[in-house]
C-alpha cells in the first residue's frame, strides 16, 4: 500500500464529516494501541481499531470503508472506557457504517436471513442488528 499524502487528502470532507457526526477529534489519538489490545473482536478484524483511526488520520478512508472491522465493532465501549485520550471509537465506527450504508445500501437484508435464525433470535438482536446494519 502506498499513500500519497496531501493537504487535500488529510483535510478531506469525508473525514471532517466523520469527526463532526461522531463528535470525535481524530488527531487526539496518539496511537498507543490500547483500544486494539482490549477489543474482544480484534481477533476477527482485518484492521485493528487503532489502525482505523490511523488510516482516517491519513485521510485514507477507502481502506477503512472496505474493511470488515467496522462491521465487527459491537459498540461494547471497552476501548472508549480505557482510552487515555477519551476517543469514543464506537461512535466513529457507527458513523462510518452509516455513511457507507447511505451510499451502498443496507448491510443485511432481513428477508435473506435464514428462517431458522429469524425464528430463534431474540427481538433485541433484530432491532439492534437492524439499527447497526441498515441505514
Amino acid at each position: 500500500m502506498r499513500i500519497r499524502l496531501s493537504a487535500a487528502k488529510v483535510h478531506n470532507d469525508f473525514i471532517r464529516k466523520v469527526e463532526e457526526m461522531s463528535g470525535q477529534d481524530l488527531l487526539k489519538c496518539y496511537q498507543c494501541g490500547e483500544c486494539s489490545a482490549g477489543c474482544p473482536a480484534a481477533f476477527a478484524m482485518d484492521l485493528l481499531p487503532n489502525q482505523v483511526i490511523r488510516l482516517l488520520q491519513l485521510g485514507e478512508y477507502d481502506t477503512v470503508l472496505q474493511s470488515k472491522t467496522i462491521w465487527l465493532c459491537a459498540a461494547c465501549q471497552q476501548c472508549y472506557t480505557r482510552c487515555p485520550k477519551g476517543v469514543d471509537l464506537s461512535r466513529i465506527m457507527e458513523v462510518l457504517r452509516d455513511l457507507l450504508m447511505l451510499e451502498q445500501g443496507d448491510k443485511i437484508v432481513i428477508e435473506k436471513l435464514p428462517a431458522e435464525t429469524l425464528a430463534e433470535f431474540p427481538q433485541q438482536a433484530f432491532i439492534s442488528g437492524f439499527r447497526k446494519y441498515t441505514a
Binding site: 500500500m1 502506498r2 496531501s6 477529534d25 496511537q31 488510516l55 491519513l58
Partner: protein, 452 residues
C-alpha cells in the same frame, strides 16, 4: 606551582552560550571574578538563534537578552569574545590559561557600536548565524542586540582583504576604530577553576544524501527554520522557502536526521529534536493558517515538564499530522520537494509532494571540544562528547580536579537541563572558592546551636 601560594578564586569559563553565561552570572553574583571566553564575536550561543522556546513559546531573545546584557555589564565578568583558549598549565587553584584573540580588524576600545560601518559596507555574504537563510555584511555583528555590540571584519569576505579595494568602513567610522592591521593577540589568565561549556553543533546533513540537503534548496535544517521563525531573523518571522521566497503550504519535518543511526550516522538520540520539531510545526501553523505540517518520527520523546502536553497541543490544537516512520528519500520534482516515507502504524508507505522539508539533524559536540579534551586531559567518548567523572552522581565534575563541565558538551540537552547543570557547575566552583577564601567564617557565621 608553589604549594604555599594561595589558590586563585577566579574562574575561567569556556563558551558563552546559555550554559557559560548562567555559570558566569551565578559565580560573579556570588562575589568572584569570571573570565568568560567565547569564540564568536558576541555571547549568547545557540539560544540567541532560536525563535520561541518550548513548551511556553517564550521568545528566546526576550528571556535571554537580559542575561547577555547582565553578563556584558557585570563588573566581575571579563568577556573575552572572538577568542579561544589555546593552552592550559597548572592545576586546581593555579591554572594559567592562554587565550588567543582573533583579529577583529576593529579597535573595540574605541568603537561605539553605532552600526554605520555595517550600514555602508557594500559586501554582502551569506550569514552563518542565519543558517544561510539571510545575508550579512563583511563587517558585522551577529545580531543587532549583540553583546558586546562591536563589529568584526570577515577577512575572507571583505574586498579590502581579498582584492585590496574599498576601505569604506574606515572612511565612515566616526571614531576611527577600523584597524585593518590588527593582529591576533594572546593573553594569559590565571584562574583557580575552569568550566567547559562549549555546547554543540549540528551533524553535517550533506552526509545523508537521501535527504537532499545541500542539493535541494528547499530542504533546510531545524536551526535554519528557527531563523525563519524568528522575529529578528532574515524574514522577520515570516515563513518563506529559500528557492523562490514563496510561503510553503505543505511542510514536512523529518526527525532523527542522523540520530539513532549507528550504521549510517550517530547512534545516540539527540534529545531535543522531538520537542523543537513539535514547536516548529506549531509555529509554522500559527504563521501559515492554511498550511499543513507533517512530522515523520520514530518515537515521540516528550519527557519533561509539560512536554507531553505540548506534543498533544501540536496535534489537537494545531492539527499537526504525525507519521511514524523514517523517511527514505527526498528529491526535487518541479518546484516541489517529494518525500518518500512510511507509516509503520498503518503499514503503508507514504509519499508527500511538499513545498519545503525541515530536517532535525543530530547534535554533535563542537569540533573544538576534542582539542580542549586533550588539552585538559579529560576523556571524551568516540563522538567527542566530554565525559563527566561519573554518570549518575557526578554529572558536572570531571576526572581533572578543578575542571567542570556544563550543558551540551557532555551530551545533548535542552535549555532547562543545561541551565541547571551550569548552576550546578557554579556551585562546585563556589564551594571550592569558599573553602579557599574561608568566606563564611570571615563573615562571622557560626553553625549555631541547633534545636533538637
Amino acid at each position: 606551582m608553589s604549594e604555599d601560594k594561595a589558590p586563585i578564586t577566579r574562574v575561567l569559563i569556556i563558551g558563552a552560550g546559555i550554559a557559560g553565561i548562567q555559570a558566569a552570572l551565578d559565580i560573579a553574583n556570588s562575589g568572584y571574578e569570571v573570565v568568560l571566553v567565547e569564540r564568536e564575536p558576541s555571547i549568547g550561543g545557540r539560544m540567541l538563534q532560536l525563535s520561541e522556546t518550548f513548551p511556553t513559546l517564550d521568545c528566546a531573545q526576550c528571556i535571554l537578552t537580559p542575561r547577555t546584557v547582565e553578563a556584558g555589564h557585570h563588573e566581575r565578568i571579563r568577556l573575552m569574545t572572538f577568542s579561544e583558549v589555546t593552552g592550559i598549565t597548572g592545576d586546581i587553584g593555579h591554572f594559567t590559561a592562554t587565550v588567543q584573540r582573533k583579529p577583529a580588524s576593529v579597535n573595540w576600545d574605541v568603537c561605539t557600536g553605532c552600526g554605520l560601518c555595517q550600514e555602508k559596507c557594500p559586501t554582502k555574504v551569506t550569514s552563518p548565524f542565519d543558517r544561510g537563510m539571510g545575508k550579512r555584511k563583511a563587517i558585522y555583528t551577529l545580531s543587532p542586540q549583540a553583546v558586546p555590540n562591536k563589529p568584526v571584519i570577515d577577512r575572507e569576505a571583505c574586498t579590502w582583504f581579498t582584492r585590496g579595494k574599498c576601505r569604506l568602513c574606515e572612511k565612515v567610522c566616526p571614531v576611527h576604530a577600523i584597524d585593518y592591521e590588527q593582529q591576533a593577540s594572546t593573553t594569559q589568565v590565571e584562574v583557580g577553576a575552569v568550566i567547559i561549556a562549549t555546547g554543540y553543533t549540528l551533524y553535517g546533513l550533506e552526509n545523508l544524501g537521501e535527504y537532499g540537503y545541500g542539493q535541494v534548496p528547499d530542504v533546510v535544517d531545524g536551526l535554519a527554520f528557527e531563523r525563519l521563525l524568528s522575529a529578528s531573523g532574515p524574514t522577520a518571522g515570516k515563513v518563506r522557502r529559500p528557492s523562490d521566497g514563496k510561503e510553503p503550504k505543505q511542510v514536512v519535518f523529518i526527525q532523527c536526521a542522523g540520530s539513532r543511526a549507528p550504521e549510517t550516522a550517530m547512534p545516540y538520540c539527540s534529545k531535543i529534536c522531538c520537542m523543537y520539531t513539535a514547536k516548529h510545526a506549531m509555529l509554522y501553523k500559527h504563521r501559515v493558517h492554511d498550511g499543513t505540517a507533517y512530522i515523520f518520527y520514530i518515537d515521540v520523546r516528550a519527557a519533561g515538564k509539560r512536554y507531553e502536553e505540548f506534543y498533544h497541543r501540536a496535534t489537537e490544537e494545531d492539527r499537526v499530522l504525525y507519521v511514524r516512520g523514517k523517511v527514505a528519500r527526498v528529491f526535487r520534482e518541479g518546484d516541489q520537494v517529494v518525500v518518500w516515507g512510511s507509516d509503520t502504524l498503518s503499514g503503508a508507505s507514504v509519499e508527500i509532494a511538499a513545498d519545503m522539508v525541515v530536517l532535525a539533524p543530530a547534535m554533535i559536540p563542537h569540533p573544538e571540544t576534542l582539542r580542549l579534551a586533550e588539552m585538559f586531559g579529560i576523556p571524551a567518548n568516540e563522538y567527542g562528547f566530554l565525559l563527566p567523572a561519573e554518570d549518575n552522581i557526578l554529572p558536572v565534575e570531571t576526572v581533572r580536579p578543578g575542571v567542570f563541565v556544563a550543558g551540551a558538551v557532555t551530551s545533548p540537552k535542552d535549555i532547562p537541563e543545561t541551565v541547571a547543570q551550569a548552576s550546578a557547575a557554579a556551585a562546585k566552583v563556589l564551594a571550592l572558592f569558599a573553602q579557599w577564601s574561608g568566606v563564611p567564617e570571615a563573615m562571622g557565621i557560626s553553625v549555631g546551636a541547633d534545636a533538637s
